[in-house]
């Protein structure tokens, strides 16, 4: 199994409630996978302040204050390191690339869980509800959020095996299912110089999409390419700096339900994860069709 949730807010009045709504969605999907969980939050003013770059770092060995000092010295910018569970949310004024390079140099043992202008990624091994409480997810704000509860099948239960996979700037991918030919595609991407953090099948999908976007394709074209190249079962939720997209494989045995109102678009593995959303009783509710790409843009 595995559970997926995502919430794309259209009504700014709901931005302060993003974390609260996402926490409820994630907790409801705990029964679909309780070995690991993760979230991506777009636009939280404390985690990813406007004008700052943000890098989410897992399992860094140095204490947060020491890492902040080292990064401030390395970049010349005022770097903040906020510990949330076992993730450090690192942010600083300026562009993301120099901050990302400094983080990789200062904490080479750590896993970069995500990076971008307004994206924070938190993921770990553990029960989804307990992790959400550790992260203080209910207090998070923002315009878009994605979550995943994992029941591992294709790779080990480790923080690097947890979703989301946020391997391109402000991008994020979560997956319910399994890719059958991930080893082949991983070899092809490695031959192109793409570096992997894990042996996980989903990471291959995320790297494939990131590479396609870096090559200049739009999300829809990238996902069409994924449908053509990847064998296996998948419901995917792919978010980007301005968009939110859902795609399912041709067999479509992995569930998905979308609800849409004037105030928000939400997607989840099951309706029960949406039952608490404001106005859901009047939402347009549908199941995405196989191999059709559904995308919403901010």
């Amino acid at each position: 199994m595995c559970g997926i949730v995502g919430l794309h807010l259209r009504d700014p009045d709901l931005f302060p409630r993003l974390g609260e709504l996402l926490t409820g969605m994630l907790g409801e999907m705990e029964e679909r996978g309780a070995d690991s969980a993760g979230v991506a939050v777009y636009g939280d003013p404390r985690w990813s302040p406007p004008g700052h770059a943000t890098v989410s770092v897992l399992d860094a060995s140095a204490p947060a204050d020491e890492l902040a000092t080292a990064l401030t010295a390395a970049t010349g910018a005022e770097v903040s390191v906020l510990p949330l569970g076992s993730t450090y949310v690192v942010h600083a004024p300026g562009d993301v690339e120099p901050l990302l390079a400094a983080v990789r140099a200062a904490a080479p043992e750590a896993l970069v869980a995500g990076f971008g202008e307004d994206l924070t990624v938190l993921k770990d091994v553990g029960h989804p509800r307990a992790l959400a409480a550790q992260w203080g997810l209910a207090e998070a704000q923002g315009w878009q959020g994605v979550g995943h509860t994992r029941m591992a099948t294709e790779s080990a239960v480790t923080p690097s095996g947890a979703h989301p996979y946020a391997v391109g700037p402000d991008q994020c991918l979560v997956h319910n299912g399994s890719f059958a030919n991930h080893a082949t595609i991983r070899r092809e991407l490695r031959a192109r110089g793409v570096v992997f953090d894990s042996e996980n099948d989903t990471e291959v999908g995320a790297r494939y999409v990131a590479q396609a976007l870096a090559d200049g394709l739009d999300v829809e074209t990238a996902l069409k390419g994924l449908c053509a190249e990847f064998d296996g079962f998948y419901t995917l939720l792919v978010s980007n700096r301005d968009s939110f997209a859902v795609v399912r494989d041709a067999i479509a045995c992995k569930p998905a339900v979308v609800a849409e109102t004037g105030a928000w678009v939400a997607m989840a593995s099951e309706y029960r994860a949406l039952a608490h959303l404001p106005g859901v009783e009047g939402a347009h509710l549908f199941e995405p069709e196989p191999e059709r790409i559904y995308a919403w843009t901010r």
């Binding site: 309706y271 029960r272 509710l285 549908f286 199941e287």
Partner: protein
């Protein structure tokens, strides 16, 4: 609990197990189940002629394994609504997710909206009437029963079908292996008219096309190997 009066069971205050246990202890009467909020297995395993209405959207396996009861889902239903039903009826007022009526042996399943992929997969005698369209691989390996689709059918309808009869009014995207179009004889028009009437529709049976098994997969033939 043994009552003919109307009973209300609120999933907002009672646990799923409490609600299902209360339903299992009743032998007759009308019951309204409120606040399902997408819960799984609501009103599953009923064995008596209750009249149950579930007010809202249900999760997986709503009214699964039903015997004798008449269950209405006043909302959408998740995966496997009415799966393995033996008798009675299940009516979904909205859409149903995949595998509606899976493996069901008897009774009547009506989905007023659309049913997603694999509707009637491995059906073994159930009658299914879908007001809208059905997704891909519906009636996959169907063994007995009737599937009526008032709208369109997705890819690979009736793949590897044994003996069920399929009636589709709209377009069929493609037929699965060993599923073929068949002649509508008077007995088919009559049984389809009866099924539509039981489901509450008055379409002209002659506007439907019948599909069923070519029986080419019943015996081994080297040309059947892929």
């Amino acid at each position: 609990m043994d009552t003919m009066s109307s009973t209300q069971l609120d999933l907002g205050t009672l646990s799923l197990r409490e609600v299902n246990r209360a339903l299992h202890e009743m032998t007759a009467g009308e019951v309204a189940v409120t606040n399902p909020r997408g819960a799984h297995s609501v009103a599953a395993g009923l064995t008596t002629p209750l009249q149950v209405t579930i007010a809202g959207h249900c999760g997986y396996y709503a009214a699964g394994m039903n015997q004798l009861a008449d269950v209405v889902v006043d909302g959408t239903a998740g995966v496997g609504v009415g799966e393995n039903m033996m008798s009675g009826s299940v009516r979904v007022r909205g859409n149903a997710s995949q595998s509606a009526g899976a493996t069901a042996h008897g009774g009547l399943l009506v989905v007023e909206g659309d049913a997603a992929a694999r509707c009637g997969i491995s059906m073994k005698g159930v009658d299914i009437v879908v007001g809208g369209s059905v997704g891909h691989m519906s009636a996959f390996m169907a063994q007995a029963g009737r599937l009526v689709v008032r709208g369109d059918a997705g890819e690979a309808l009736g793949d590897s079908i044994y003996e069920a009869r399929l009636y589709v009014r709209g377009r069929v995207a493609s037929l699965g292996a060993d599923c073929v179009e068949k002649e509508m004889r008077p007995e088919h028009l009559a049984e389809l008219g009866d099924l539509l009437a039981r489901a509450g529709y008055d379409d002209d049976p002659a506007s439907y096309t019948r599909y069923g098994s070519a029986r080419g997969l019943y015996h081994f033939h080297s040309d059947n190997a892929y």
